[in-house]
């Protein structure tokens, strides 16, 4: 399953990470919000595997803990895993969660699906509450915010996207509630950092995939109006396998000397959209798809955007030029900073990761 269409990312070989370079000791208290989620459960697993013995897992009252329980099963010897159910909209719950914590991995967020206020409330208001609670206790050494590639405009001249590329200045116009919420969430973290000297790191994962998360990312295509519309073409997709992503997030909370830094997270040798779709059809399930060339997808986004404007939102601005640039423009990505500063290396090579993912999708009968 090797990708023949995209070469490996060029970066310096990662430096091995020594536990001596970590900012906390194994018995220090660590908080993981969104711990019951797809990535959060793997973050907890990675922390436990790395020998951290005092982890607080924060989950919503309605969250299903099966994934978290599966992740830490058999790893609990001598480890204190505390599951705290609550709502980050409650200041009292935030205070209870952040008491005595040295590192916070903040993964909990609300996508809000299509609702901007929902996404904002469950991402930004919750983050503010958590930050306010955590600054009360003087023991916080690192606040790791897990953001998203959705924040990038991807309109830079170069087709290469890295951490220095501009972030959406008008996320309210993106038509994407997640983009809006994530941009505002990053803003509130940096505001708090300035005001209260919160030592923070922002991690921006690309498209996270793995067993238990069957949907095909919109960067490959979308199912709309009947057939699957393949929009990615030869674009490389910034995939990151969930275990590799969790490893990067964990390191962002531990490695010394990276305060205030931003890290993009994506794996090496990720396949092109076309290659991924072909493998998906071969390994999971065959279905009809129609390729939409970039020129046409851009024109469609442009027309949709204009129609949405002139019809006063009769069609919501779900497709627009901002989204086209962010998701479907031909782009190359870099994970050099992640390797260099955090000493990250993918735990699971892409070929193996894809094999595991497809096998899980096939067994679960999931479909795009």
């Amino acid at each position: 399953m090797a990708s023949r269409e995209s070469g490996p990312l060029r970066g310096r070989a990662p430096k091995p990470v020594s536990p001596d370079s970590f900012i906390i000791a194994p018995d220090d208290r660590i908080l993981v919000t969104g711990a019951a989620g797809f990535i959060g459960s793997r973050v907890v697993e990675t922390l436990v595997d790395r020998g951290f013995r005092n982890v607080v897992c924060f989950a919503r009252p309605a969250s299903d803990l099966a994934r978290l329980e599966a992740s830490i099963k058999g790893r609990l010897l001598g480890t204190r895993i505390e599951v705290l159910r609550g709502n980050l909209l409650s200041r009292a719950d935030c205070e209870a969660a952040s008491k005595g914590v040295t590192v916070i991995y903040h993964l909990a967020a609300g996508t809000g699906e299509k609702s901007f206020p929902d996404a904002f409330m469950n991402s930004v208001v919750t983050t503010r509450n958590l930050l306010e609670a955590s600054v009360q206790y003087a023991c916080l050494k690192r606040f790791v915010l897990v953001s998203s590639f959705a924040v990038y405009t991807n309109r830079q001249k170069s087709r290469r996207l890295d951490e220095s590329c501009p972030v959406e200045a008008h996320p309210e116009l993106s038509g994407n509630a997640c983009c809006f919420a994530k941009v505002k969430q990053e803003q509130i973290v940096t505001e708090f950092a300035k005001k209260f000297a919160v030592p923070y790191v922002i991690v921006r994962p690309g498209s996270v995939y793995g067993p238990g998360h069957a949907e095909i990312t919109g960067r490959v295509g979308i199912r709309a109006f009947g057939p699957f519309l393949h929009l990615g073409g030869f674009n490389r997709i910034p995939f990151t396998y969930v275990d590799n992503c969790a490893e990067a997030i964990v390191l962002a909370g531990l490695v010394r000397g990276v305060e205030g830094e931003i890290f993009n997270v994506l794996d090496d040798d990720t396949p092109s959209s076309r290659r991924f779709l072909k493998l998906y059809k071969q390994n999971v399930r065959a279905f009809k798809s129609a390729y939409v060339p970039h020129m046409f997808s851009y024109a469609l986004c442009y027309l949709w955007e204009k129609y949405s404007q002139c019809s006063e939102g009769q069609l919501p601005p779900a497709f627009n030029r901002r989204r086209w640039y962010a998701e479907w423009r031909r782009t190359s990505y870099s994970n050099a900073k992640l390797k260099e500063r955090l000493g990250w290396a993918p735990k699971v090579p892409t070929n193996e990761a894809l094999r595991l993912y497809f096998r899980s999708c096939a067994q679960g009968g999931h479909h795009a």
């Binding site: 009252p61 409330m121 006063e312 939102g313 009769q314």
Partner: protein
């Protein structure tokens, strides 16, 4: 220029702001939320003059003519009363208040102050719903309604997950819990066509087997109601979270003809009371129905092409009508009688459900018996 303010900057406030901006001759002078971040995000995304975290400041500094209340229902009454006392017309999102006593107080206050009041029953102002109302008014039914059926389905998995998993969720604090937050659209559709001065209600509600399996003990998500007024107009109301398709449908039958309003697909069908002779009754009506469906398709397509087929089209019409009633001191789009009757029917349903649940837990029976019908006079409607 009518000055408008929105109090409560959550999900539904977006729909209000969008539709207010589509209505001519008004501007949003302020938005308010106790959570400053929420107020600011609405202010940043819409052309709004200022944002506030304090209602008194909003009213005194932005000086709105109309206030839209889009907060959770528990706060509707206090906010609406405050706005009315400060000479603002008020649009309250559904459910109007927690009970009919609060509703009556607001109506009395509005009338005393010479202000206008409405409730967000916008489904009654969709294109198809307005066509139904016009046909009824033109006498298509052939007299007073004989019977109505209102189906209101519920299929919001994300919302349900949040509610079911959270014992502290604000919906659980409402007297009618989930039903209170949802059913007013379906009940109001019936209340509009009830004309008698007293109403009887028989409600039967239960927790669906699906919810019981996951340990839910207080959220009633299946409801069947029989309503009858003193003029012998009757109605069935069905609320279901389990029934598929999840219908939003209203049927009204008169002595001559009937009508079906399918809210989900914006379809209105006329039901002819007269029959055709012999076998013709098997062949002609299907053709007539096909023709009506085609007419609905063409009408919807025309509206879409004319850019007048928005998801919240009913809300825009309701807002426009409400603002017109303010400017021209004309009749409000939703009569106060209908608002109060809807509240009163809902109160009676919740009273009966409470009794049923209490009986169930006392006797530990798996199935509650129907309680005797509770009748009530309509003191609020005289």
């Amino acid at each position: 220029m009518l000055k408008v303010a929105i109090v409560g900057c959550g999900k539904i406030a977006d729909a209000h702001a969008t539709q207010i901006l589509r209505v001519g001759g008004c501007e949003i002078v302020g938005v308010c939320d106790r959570e400053s971040l929420m107020a600011r995000q609405l202010y940043e995304r819409f052309p709004v003059k200022r944002y506030f975290t304090d209602l008194a400041e909003l009213v005194s500094e932005a000086r709105p003519d109309v206030v839209h209340i889009t907060t959770p229902p528990e706060s509707h009454f206090d906010i609406a009363r405050f706005c009315l006392e400060h000479h603002c017309h008020v649009y309250v999102e559904k459910p109007f208040t927690l009970d009919v006593h609060q509703a009556q107080q607001l109506v009395d206050l509005a009338e005393e102050k010479g202000l206008k009041l409405t409730v967000g029953h916008n489904c009654q102002f969709s294109h198809a719903a307005r066509r139904l109302r016009a046909l009824v008014k033109d006498g298509y039914l052939g007299g007073r309604p004989v019977h109505m059926e209102s189906h209101y389905g519920y299929d919001n998995a994300a919302y349900a997950r949040a509610l079911l998993g959270d014992r502290q969720h604000w919906v659980r604090r409402l007297p009618g819990k989930l039903l209170q937050n949802i059913i007013s659209h379906g009940i109001a559709t019936i209340a509009e066509f009830l004309t008698g001065d007293s109403v009887q209600v028989v409600a039967h509600g239960f927790i669906s087997p699906l919810l019981k399996r996951i340990g839910e003990r207080e959220i009633v998500d299946e409801l069947r109601v029989i309503i009858s007024d003193s003029e012998h107009t009757t109605a069935y109301f069905t609320f279901s979270s389990q029934m598929r398709p999840s219908l939003h449908e209203f049927r009204i039958y008169g002595p001559k003809n009937g009508l079906i309003l399918d809210q989900d697909h914006e379809i209105l069908l006329r039901l002819r009371g007269a029959k055709f002779k012999s076998y013709a009754d098997y062949f002609i009506p299907p053709v007539m129905f096909a023709k009506q469906h085609l007419e609905n398709l063409v009408r919807n397509a025309r509206l879409f092409l004319a850019r007048d087929f928005h998801m919240d089209a009913g809300m825009k019409v309701l807002i426009e009508s409400f603002y017109r009633s303010i400017r021209e001191n004309a009749t409000v789009p939703i009569p106060y009688r209908e608002i109060l009757l809807t509240s009163q029917i809902m109160d009676t349903i919740f009273d009966q459900l409470r009794d049923q649940l209490a009986d169930q837990s006392a006797s530990s029976q798996s199935r509650a018996d129907l309680v005797p019908p509770i009748g009530f006079k309509m003191p609020y409607l005289q």
